[in-house]
């Protein structure tokens, strides 16, 4: 009897204590109401600096995006505002069938959204909708013209709102999740300095759309968070799925995408071919030359000649990713195919070869 009593006591009091990192999951109604009344983001277009996404929301988004390839899919995000960061706690998918170039929410999706959020309230998820996500299968994380206008609309009527974009194809090839969070500037607002973001290769067909609207939004820093229980579970999970890490082959699973990337690069290069003879080297800008006039012209020259340089970057990226896949294959070959004492020199030399590129 004493034994069972002790057990019940320890069960009730021995549960893993909530560590401070779990506090983010708590929904504080008062704080939420307060910040929704103050609306600090309406005064400062650059108010939100970062977007924190929970592990669960992220994985659901990636799975949804992956299941929808080659179509664009769309869904909503639930969460709250904490300081200058938008915290995303959960995501759910919308039954919108996107064609390959545009995704828009129709009446059916709005109904679904409302019904789902109402249901969530009763199931213990009281957070509000704070954003939407959609996928760009294979062409990177940025906002297209339609996305920009959708988001501007959202920010006008249902702020605080964030636009998240995920690319399931790039996720598969790069081995890490390709995701971006964006907020648009309100109309007629020019950002103080056009900060150049990290270069990403955009397929030829989309490059116009990308360039035209690139200054109408800015990207938020993306952070992932998880609870202490999830951290422990993830460690345990690794014990189970390390087999999959070894057995899956990047080269095979990404074949179609790699081929399409090469075809796109080919098109870009043939375009570049016509402009190469016209490239000029830019004069190094010395101190006395830096008047505005000279700077403008050299910037333009820099843009023109960068077409070929951009293609070079794209091609090195493609080659590097293919090398990653090959490295994995060679490692497996060495582990599983070498017979002891047979002096398989050929295989080990393959490894050194593949490591030398790039």
């Amino acid at each position: 009897m004493a034994n069972t009593a002790l057990k019940t006591f320890s069960i009730e009091n021995d549960i893993v204590e909530l560590s401070p990192q779990d506090d983010i999951y708590r929904f504080d109604e008062d704080a939420d109401r307060k910040i929704n009344r103050e609306i600090p983001w309406s005064k400062d277009p650059h108010y939100f600096k970062s977007c924190r996404i929970s592990a669960v929301a992220l994985i659901k988004m990636v799975m949804h995006a992956r299941s929808g390839v080659p179509y664009e899919i769309m869904g909503m995000l639930q969460g709250k505002v904490v300081g200058t960061s938008l915290v995303i706690l959960d995501s759910f998918a919308l039954p919108v069938q996107g064609t390959e170039t545009r995704v828009n929410a129709g009446a059916e999706a709005l109904e679904y959204m409302v019904a789902y959020t109402q249901g969530s309230q009763s199931a213990g998820r009281p957070e509000n909708l704070v954003g939407w996500y959609h996928s760009h299968p294979g062409y990177g994380c940025w906002l297209s013209g339609i996305d920009v206008s959708t988001q501007m609309n959202n920010q006008k009527h249902t702020d605080p709102f964030v636009a998240v974009v995920v690319d399931p194809n790039r996720t598969m090839t790069a081995g890490k999740v390709d995701i971006g969070a964006f907020r648009t500037y309100p109309e007629n607002y020019t950002p103080p300095n056009a900060a150049s973001s990290e270069y990403q290769s955009i397929p030829l067909s989309k490059i116009e759309d990308f360039g035209v609207h690139a200054n109408q939004y800015y990207s938020l820093e993306v952070e992932i968070f998880k609870s202490s229980l999830e951290t422990q579970l993830l460690d345990l999970l690794w014990n189970k799925y390390w087999v999959n890490t070894l057995s899956q082959s990047l080269l095979i699973s990404n074949r179609a995408y790699a081929v399409s990337q090469l075809a796109d690069l080919n098109q870009k290069l043939s375009k570049v071919q016509s402009s190469v003879p016209g490239t000029k080297a830019s004069l190094p800008v010395t101190v006395k030359d830096s008047k505005d006039g000279k700077k403008e012209s050299s910037k333009e020259d820099a843009k023109k000649e960068n077409e070929l340089a951009k293609s070079v970057k794209d091609s090195s990226k493609i080659a590097a990713e293919a090398q990653h896949g090959l490295i994995a294959q060679v490692i497996k070959d060495v582990i599983f195919s070498i017979r002891p004492g047979n002096g398989q020199q050929a295989d080990t030399s393959k490894i050194t070869e593949s490591m030398n590129i790039g």
């Binding site: 069960i11 249901g119 213990g124 790069a174 582990i335």
Partner: protein, 320 residues
């Protein structure tokens, strides 16, 4: 025994572990993380160490093979004994619209072991699915690291319902089913990335690190096998012929890729990759060459212009 029969909570509704279910269950990481997040959230909301968590499992079932892919939370009506059926139906249909291939295949909760209360709840789900599964998260079990860290189990258990006939009475009981963890490639990458905290590093570095971690696990497992075999040889451990047979089968299947067609495919693939690398470096050299030519033109042009100005002549340059 009879004293315990009167106390409801003491009758085990789980059959002893000698009987196992015949289902083969594949559990994805997403349901695992979903359930833990739901649990933490309720803990915070209700400020109880063990709140009653309830949710539904989504997945596919083909005969005896079950795959659990996703989950969603369920609401309870009133006094925590009846499920809110309308909510369940609505949510299930909503998920059906977005993921038509997933079906309702069971439910989950958080508890140390299943009790008769769970039997009662279980019967409410039979209307939606012929043989619903029960997945339980055990909140206190085994979360502390074990000594060598290789043989740790997830604190989840899966149960199937069955009828036990004893003393001419039949009652429903749960029988434990074993499960494997399966991931799709995208899911694995996402889970891996969140496990590392979502950071970055050069992609080569992180790729090699993942490979190294996986190879290390393989190495550790092999060491365990070697240890077992040496102890059998030294007559320290009981010889289990089943294990020894499987080890020898494993060894016989190595080297794994002596097959001729495999070799050809492998070589073709590596040649393709190296060709891509060659083309990439060709493109790079073309660009550098173009750059060099441009700079040369610039230098010589300005030099020519300067000499022309100096000469003051209108001599037409036939440089270009």
């Amino acid at each position: 025994m009879s004293a315990m029969d009167t106390d409801n909570d003491e009758i085990s509704v789980v059959l002893p572990s000698t009987t196992t279910s015949g289902l083969s269950i594949a559990l994805h990481p997403l349901p695992i993380l979903n359930i833990s997040e739901h649990f933490i959230r309720l803990k915070l909301q209700k400020q109880k160490p063990l709140p009653f968590t309830l949710g539904a499992l989504l997945g596919t079932q083909n005969g005896r093979e079950v795959e659990i892919v996703n989950t969603f939370e369920l609401a309870l009506e009133g006094d925590e004994e009846a499920i809110d059926h309308s909510f369940l139906v609505n949510r299930r249909d909503q998920y059906k619209q977005v993921f038509p291939s997933l079906e309702f295949i069971g439910w989950y909760t958080v508890a140390p072991i299943p009790t008769s209360r769970h039997i009662g709840l279980h019967s409410q789900f039979t209307g939606y699915c012929s043989t619903p599964l029960l997945l339980i998260l055990q909140p206190t079990a085994n979360l502390v690291g074990s000594a060598d860290g290789t043989r740790q189990n997830l604190p989840f258990k899966a149960y199937e319902q069955t009828i036990e006939i004893k003393d001419r009475t039949s009652r429903s009981v749960f029988v434990e089913a074993s499960y494997n963890v399966e991931t799709g490639e995208a899911e694995r990458i996402a889970v891996d990335w969140t496990a590392k905290g979502g950071g970055s590093g050069t992609s080569l570095e992180s790729h090699l690190q993942t490979q190294r971690a996986a190879v290390k696990m393989l190495h550790d497992r092999i060491l365990v096998l070697i240890q077992y075999v040496t102890s059998v040889i030294a007559v320290e451990a009981p010889t289990d012929h089943g294990i020894l047979r499987s080890i020898s089968a494993l060894l016989a299947s190595l080297p794994a890729s002596e097959n001729k067609t495999f070799r050809e495919e492998f070589n073709t693939e590596s040649e393709d990759v190296q060709l891509t690398a060659l083309l990439a470096s060709l493109t790079k050299s073309t660009n550098i060459l173009n750059d060099l030519v441009d700079k040369h033109t610039l230098l010589t042009a300005s030099a020519a212009r300067r000499t022309r100005l100096q000469m003051g002549g209108a001599r037409l340059g036939d440089w270009h």
